[in-house]
Point group: C2
């Protein structure tokens, strides 16, 4: 066994909870509910998914016990880490063994590339044991390859045929589940018996719908970040001399920031979706923060805590336009790219951009701190695109606020510290919520495959209630799709779930945020508790 | 009551453990042990501390119950936050009430300035209740003022006299406890009956001695940082594509890094004291890291975790010399300072420094990344000194390693992420260890004052054992002192406790570190557990 801390060892013996009604898997029979279709772009999506389009939502009810059935299933992690992944595998493994002790589970290695290249391990009871209720994806690794090209699809088909597997479970985010849908359709078109089922994974919380109440990993990530934010709030209140600008991981949507805001009640939390909806400019955001600082200083408070979602930059209209323009003019090989690279100093670069960017974009660029300007120009991905997730938005805002305070001749004290929390929360030991949720998602995936369903995503409902009341169902992946412009093409993809400005959570936040601004209502939530009172160990996300 | 999370509320009712032998405070009588003196500079220290020099260590034994005595005590937090501060106050308060229900506790506000300006609140049972076992110092705040000038000392004497207090408890680090010694001596010299007692507080772990086994806050800070480091190790192992360079708070000494290394077993942990002892240069450190990366790449591992103590920069001989030189030539108002400020660009600054720094210092400066060069020149404290704690050493090393990998034509992948953990761990909910330790330190402080002792520091021994075996004693502050050069003067100050390269912990680390380099022996310690098995909730620091 690998090295383990006391808590890791202790967690090995945690037994995830399963609702009584779905305990006997062989007694569950599928119930087809209403037929489905996506909310928009139905015709185009139907064209791409002729076989899997319009399938019904399915639920389960208890019936007579069916015969034992030997299942062979492959499983893969796709994309970034999220706490609970190993529990999806545990649930899947235990379910396969419930269907028949001879059933087998294969783990594809290092992400979807493992399917394409047919690289896998067999996951046995002994091998799995030490990963139960543990963080990380290290049992089989993960990766970001997508199965998209005809060649990749063909290789995946070969793998499925060679292994003669009944199903593949793809544990991933929105893009990975789009991939699962494509693979399901492709397999059907090639008369392959292998079913494809997705599992909603992402700490970002943006793979949700009216039916998918939550993606796994979100709860653990938010609780981990909130522990740190709470500690920092308490430190700010005690030291009384620092502003903390905290950027939080969560690529586009602001779900993590919103959840952490409820948990810790900092002075200000920016929500990207609100900024976009109200068309708030970067300058206005900076002014808003500056005014908060000035007003708090008048109250004798030279400290505070501000949460900034990682993806906020793309919700600020003029910054989004600027990035889009830079992506075009700086595309590798373009004449602009060469011209800028040849400039002898930053002044010359600025002069060049002034001539080549739209006037609004240039004035947006011009007010950015020099470091950020350079980052936008130099730190680009292999396609020449600005790497938005690498932009240190917390430092950008901090620098701009400092400048505006100077311009307004602010006489008070302003000392600020920038933080970024991300990797700390992806591979943590899963909370009891995520441990239970994932285990049930894994069991449900086996059940869906056993029922011959393909192009579905596992969906456990009623998550706000105690586990006993959780319900299993399956959603056709096509009902979650819409058409989006990606890399120059119109593609059907699963629609990202953004913060809904009409949701109860957001309305509640809008009401409370003004109290949090000046009265320090900080909550110190402390570390995740695995043992002790239900209240401490069994809570679900607030924004669920 | 202020807003509280579920865990905060739950912690309010935790009852800190007290050894049976010291439960009945009024039955404890003082036992004088051996007379003491500091290990060096005895004559000079004696000259400054005529009255409090050479006092004996004291212990306690159970005797006949003494009469009730009404104590009036003032308490103050001095310096940075450390988890458990409110429990020192709780222990102190409960002890005062044990001596007589009419006893009173005053809390001086916002640090030692509260003593100087006689600003305080009375700490009552009701007020204290909601701070029991909580993080932060927010009940009375803290501050960094020192009581040093004759005027400050005189004002403090006035406060003590006006309030007619029996004692002042100063909760602080090495400098604050030096201050406590000065105040004790001053009060005696002016026939003031107020006793002064210190309590060893600092997350850095550098206020220790052969008798003071641990400063409070260290355990909570290290457990909090280790949770995050462990999560990051697991993430590195799962994602397999990032190096994480993690800088850890802890001003000079590398105690925190060493403790976290044992807890999480990352690939490399730099220890400042070892670097100084072996006279390892910055270039050599960079080469060491570079070689680790190259060797791991050969094993197919393009990921890893490296811990860097905040204070490391001052342990690297040539960097220390460079900083000392810069502090002199850049002292505000100096001709150099003006010349550099007038330089028209960085090239001109470099040319100027080349002429004015020693050749070794300039070659050290020259190899630093440009950002760090600028930081050294521009980011200075009010005295014109380089702000060492603000130097982003993790980024410095990351940049230099990246450069060296390029120079060595490294063909593998190197992608790295920089982190700094500090404020996250200072104001967390105190672990059970810190909650118990602090409560006993508080009780002991009252006991020392009640016995008429002054110029002492509270010392609880046997901390490795269960609380039942902990022992109370008092150490004369002067025995911890030596003479150091501070701001141009020779001053008696409490000697910082650095990592002892002959200690069992360090020798053990030296043995294990080679296994950790290439075999990934990461431990994911997870969050602090307040409830559950003793093993999870009652551990003390590993390096104790």
């Amino acid at each position: 066994m690998h090295n383990k801390s006391s808590l890791q060892k202790k967690r090995l013996s945690y037994v995830p909870l399963v609702p009584e009604a779905v305990k006997a898997l062989r007694k569950l029979k599928v119930v087809s509910k209403e037929k489905t279709e996506p909310p928009s772009d139905q015709a185009e999506i139907k064209k791409k998914f002729k076989k899997t389009y319009g399938q019904p939502i399915v639920a389960f009810e208890v019936g007579a016990e069916t015969e034992k059935k030997t299942l062979k299933i492959g499983v893969v992690f796709s994309g970034g880490q999220a706490a609970g992944g190993h529990n999806v595998i545990s649930g899947l493994f235990d379910a396969i063994k419930d269907f028949h002790e001879d059933g087998k589970l294969f783990g594809f290695l290092n992400g979807p590339i493992g399917i394409v290249e047919n690289k896998y391990i067999e996951i046995t009871k002994d091998k799995l044991y030490e990963y139960r209720n543990q963080g990380g994806f290290d049992l089989i690794g993960s990766g970001r390859t997508k199965i998209e090209t005809e060649e990749q699809l063909k290789s995946s088909l070969d793998t499925a045929t060679k292994l003669a597997i009944d199903g593949i479970v793809i544990i991933g985010g929105d893009d990975s589940n789009t991939n699962a849908a494509i693979l399901a359709e492709y397999f059907l078109n090639h008369n392959c018996k292998t079913k494809v089922v997705g599992v909603p994974k992402t700490i970002d919380g943006d793979l949700r719908s009216s039916d998918i109440e939550m993606s796994f990993g979100f709860d653990t990530a938010c609780k981990t970040y909130s522990e740190l934010i709470g500690n920092i709030c308490k430190d700010a209140l005690s030291a009384k001399k620092y502003y903390h600008f905290i950027r939080l991981m969560g690529r586009s949507a602001s779900h993590i920031a919103l959840e952490c805001a409820f948990k810790t009640q900092p002075n200000l939390t920016l929500i990207g979706e609100e900024i976009m909806h109200k068309n708030i400019s970067l300058k206005e955001i900076v002014s808003m923060i500056t005014e908060l600082i000035i007003k708090r200083a008048e109250m004798g408070k030279n400290y505070g805590v501000i949460l900034i979602p990682e993806g906020i930059i793309e919700f600020i209209g003029e910054v989004k336009t600027l990035i889009d323009e830079l992506n075009v003019i700086l595309a590798s090989g373009s004449k602009h790219f060469d011209a800028i690279n040849k400039s002898k100093d930053h002044m010359e670069v600025l002069a060049y951009l002034k001539q080549n960017l739209n006037i609004e974009s240039f004035s947006c660029f011009e007010i950015l701190p020099k470091d950020i300007q350079k980052q936008l120009l130099l730190d680009r991905d292999p396609h020449g695109n600005v790497q938005v997730s690498k932009i240190e938005t917390e430092k950008l805002l901090l620098d701009m606020v400092k400048k505006e305070l100077n311009e307004r001749s602010f006489k008070g004290k302003f000392s600020a510290i920038a933080h970024f929390f991300g990797y700390e929360g992806r591979s943590a030991l899963p909370t009891n919520f995520d441990a239970n949720y994932c285990y049930n998602l894994g069991r449900l995936s086996a059940l869906l495959i056993n029922q011959g369903l393909t192009g579905y995503i596992a969906c456990v409902k009623n998550l706000k209630e105690s586990v006993e009341k959780w319900q299993y169902c399956g959603l056709p992946l096509t009902m979650l799709m819409n058409i989006e412009h990606r890399h120059g093409k119109q593609k059907p993809v699963i629609k990202k779930y953004l913060v809904d400005l009409k949701s109860h959570s957001f309305l509640e936040f809008s009401k409370l945020k003004n109290y949090w601004k000046f009265d320090d209502q900080y909550l110190l939530v402390g570390p995740i508790q695995f043992y002790g009172d239900k209240e401490l160990t069994e809570s679900c996300p607030f924004t669920l």
